[in-house]
Symmetry: C2
Subunit: 599 residues, 2 copies
Amino acid sequence: MNIPTPRISTGELPASRKIHVAGTLYPEIRVPMREISVHPTAGEPPLSVYDSSGPYTDPGVTTDIRKGLAPLRLSWIRARADVEEYAGRKVEAADNGFAEGDRLVPEFPIRARPLRACGDTAVTQLAYARAGIITPEMEFVAIRENQLRDAVAEERGGQDFGASIPDYVTPEFVRSEVAAGRAIIPANINHPELEPMIIGRNFLVKINANMGTSAVTSSMEEEVEKMVWAIRWGADTVMDLSTGRNIHNTREWIIRNSPVPIGTVPIYQALEKVGGIAEDLTWEVFRDTLIEQAEQGVDYFTIHAGVRLHMVPMTVNRVTGIVSRGGSIMAKWCLHHHKESFLYEHFEEICQICRKYDVSFSLGDGLRPGSIADANDEAQFAELETLGELTEIAWAHDCQVMIEGPGHVAMHKIKENMEKQLECCHEAPFYTLGPLTTDIAPGYDHITSGIGAAMIGWFGCAMLCYVTPKEHLGLPDRDDVKTGVITYKIAAHAADLAKGLPGAQRRDDALSRARFEFRWEDQFNLSLDPDTARQFHDETMPKEAHKVAHFCSMCGPKFCSMRISHDIRAEAREQGMADMAAKFREGGALYVPAGQSEE
Amino acid sequence: MNIPTPRISTGELPASRKIHVAGTLYPEIRVPMREISVHPTAGEPPLSVYDSSGPYTDPGVTTDIRKGLAPLRLSWIRARADVEEYAGRKVEAADNGFAEGDRLVPEFPIRARPLRACGDTAVTQLAYARAGIITPEMEFVAIRENQLRDAVAEERGGQDFGASIPDYVTPEFVRSEVAAGRAIIPANINHPELEPMIIGRNFLVKINANMGTSAVTSSMEEEVEKMVWAIRWGADTVMDLSTGRNIHNTREWIIRNSPVPIGTVPIYQALEKVGGIAEDLTWEVFRDTLIEQAEQGVDYFTIHAGVRLHMVPMTVNRVTGIVSRGGSIMAKWCLHHHKESFLYEHFEEICQICRKYDVSFSLGDGLRPGSIADANDEAQFAELETLGELTEIAWAHDCQVMIEGPGHVAMHKIKENMEKQLECCHEAPFYTLGPLTTDIAPGYDHITSGIGAAMIGWFGCAMLCYVTPKEHLGLPDRDDVKTGVITYKIAAHAADLAKGLPGAQRRDDALSRARFEFRWEDQFNLSLDPDTARQFHDETMPKEAHKVAHFCSMCGPKFCSMRISHDIRAEAREQGMADMAAKFREGGALYVPAGQSEE
């Protein structure tokens, strides 16, 4: 098999160094972080930040997509002695849409036998958490969430709307949140390459980036690079929404090379298997697809089991009907057969599959609003209540669950979404798309939705699914993906600040100090997108000398408020302004002559 | 004088037609609006939207920047018979920074004698409103705000946080809001080219775009085009923040060609007049600059009179000190002279000038926070209280007032800003810069601030000052200005929707209907930026045929949820789904056999 050398984005970000932190309960675990160094004049230690980019930004590791990433979790999984290797389902031509010859994407070179739970055991993080077991995955995410900040309790600002954010994240806290169903650690036992992460209201807000081949075939390098590019800029999970041919083989290449959880919408592949005719879908085809994907290592499934026959009519008078693909497919099936959804009726069997591999549920919101006019309507909330029922069923089977949310929602209706979700779904983590706060700006929907995402993240949403500038218009290219990811990192971080997450403000403060001290390089390096910040600066002030200039192009030296502030600070120090100020305040509005004020 | 032919952006936006609506009280007024037509298959009338772009988008008007725009307000002003023409202040070399020869921007070709109030009369919209007079300006904005929607009371959604939004905007409502000081109509009697607009919490949220020559000289065409470009995309006012040479002449070119209110920060020009040495500023130089600009027709002045000597020490321990240019200049002056601010001490004389020309106050927040760490601190709120005092003084002189606000503020601290401002400043309109909700994304601060802007607009902020992607890094180019304006139109509109402003959702609904009916052209034309929407769509589906395709490149025909929704809708109609649904609901979770459900 001759594959051209992959063009994958590797290498560290500016002034950054990959570090690894060992565990205490599990000394062998190595939690990756990114350490950003600042100029010596700052007299500050480097800042360590959360790092979703995987080994691709580790100069100590040579990655080869034909080999895949190291299976770091394998020993952890084996050590639990509750799984068995087995032959696994045979890959069929239908799995790749009957692609043949040079239209068929080559299989991933290495073929491992899949793992599954022994007998009826549940091998989910939820089952372990309930049994009081702190897994390596749990200690890993605990260390990861703290970003090396001190364990001391900080003074907490923010408004958390009833969340239970800890001063410091301990492995036991992670276990208790997972046990309570308030957080999930998507981690299929067949995805050992995964660097565990957690999704929950009491942890850092996460973001997801979507990708996928469309009808047209693209190379494995391209597909893997899409994922690598998204995590390089901060995507915490990636959903593979591929349709068309080669879905099976492409997904294998992606999972084997992904350090982040991979989510899918299995109904898409099932529909391909029945030639794209929704009415021809059957439980058997769907079930077979779930096992196929579980064996490959998919970490979470979007399942639209909340769309039920009696809800379909509620969408008929909407402005934009049903806008979820999975939702519309199921609605059509229900309507055509005049039957209840097979996803709903076979939900317990789906749970039986998920608990065998620890595939987390992402219960899909098939009836989410596709326009401002349809937000928070009868159909949407009827489905949400059903998702609540399903959550309890999944929990009864020790399955991890998160709930998907809208969509298009004006600002004043966002909070109701969060409150109803917490109530209906018993605090299972919420995972929303945006929401978009207006319909009138196609081409800028990363912004219309970034506004809603920041707000719902503040209110308690655990993960935000990004939206790119191409939403509603076309397929995102490389730049669109980066813009979408950065926009959502902004929304997630703004939410962390507003929730008062301990340590969240450290990066803002470090960057603002750099700004105030004219440490331009530090200002670039501490930002979410150093390349763009530097490029924008250099467009007006290219010279290297300007990187130390005590002013910038916007005002020039004469008008630089920060420069003046430094003069004021200097004078203030001399004159003991504080006392003087006190005197001025006593004097109230009146001017106090210098003579007196110096008494 | 030989000026090259100006390159000014003119012409209508796609599918748009400029229309004019006549007044009732004043039949001679012609209120501009933009009528967007949709495809005949829609069976909908054209949508009329607010239009800030002026005659530049009116094919019936030939503009020539050397002649300036038609002085449409002149007859209205004259008719009030309370102003007199006079020689006016002589332009001095210092007004243009002593620029000479070919470094001197040519004077605007036409030199009109300025107007001022006769004797001690106040010629402000506030004075007229208090006297019970509905001016043409007031009827103009009333018609403009309604955007031709019907006068019927609509069902009101939204949460308005105690605002008093009317079902329909009448001229009398405008008068009463202006009289109460809750809204302003910035309209200098020496800016007759102005198409009046209103800034107030009970009206559409407005946006401002900043522009300005920097030290380097640029041509008049460039300067005028900056303004024309900003209003073409929706800027409601423009602030000229020019520094360096040629400030006077450049401003004259801008005002004579501007249909929107022009704001300035007079201290910038005053500082130029004293060679850029803050300590050398005097009341006399400042006073002279106010008169110079008032005679030219500046509609609102940013005055940093709230920065007082005793507040300076409160900024000494901030992370980013003082970040307002005007604020830092005044702080330095106060500190150096150990004196109270001359702006504060001479505030009543400033009012005397403003009431003579109807220059509105924009009371500057010189101590606004420049970082998340400094938000809502002692210095910021101390100044806000002083701005409240000054508001009452200005009102006592019949001067119109709005209040400037921050800055950098995390989401959970935004509401407090709005509440304190309403309380301290007696409901005078609030005008904020962003606020930016995090410091960590230079290069994307239009987004970090767009989030805060949408929220504070919802809470009651009347005007949002845009931030471009170049904020903190460099000078915005043409594309940055457009991105900043569109981002802020999104924030303002999202706020209008959330406040429940009657009619605000009409555009969202029209665009969403177009989206659901695959009317691609309508979807582009109804959007805030038709060019970008079309371009993004065409990148993946260039063919004209695709403009009528009943699917898009994202999912393709097989997966198009909206297409499926249409099938569902069709089937539903046949089967009388509504009744069936009722039966299903009676049946609860259980599936009701088709037989029964058809009884």
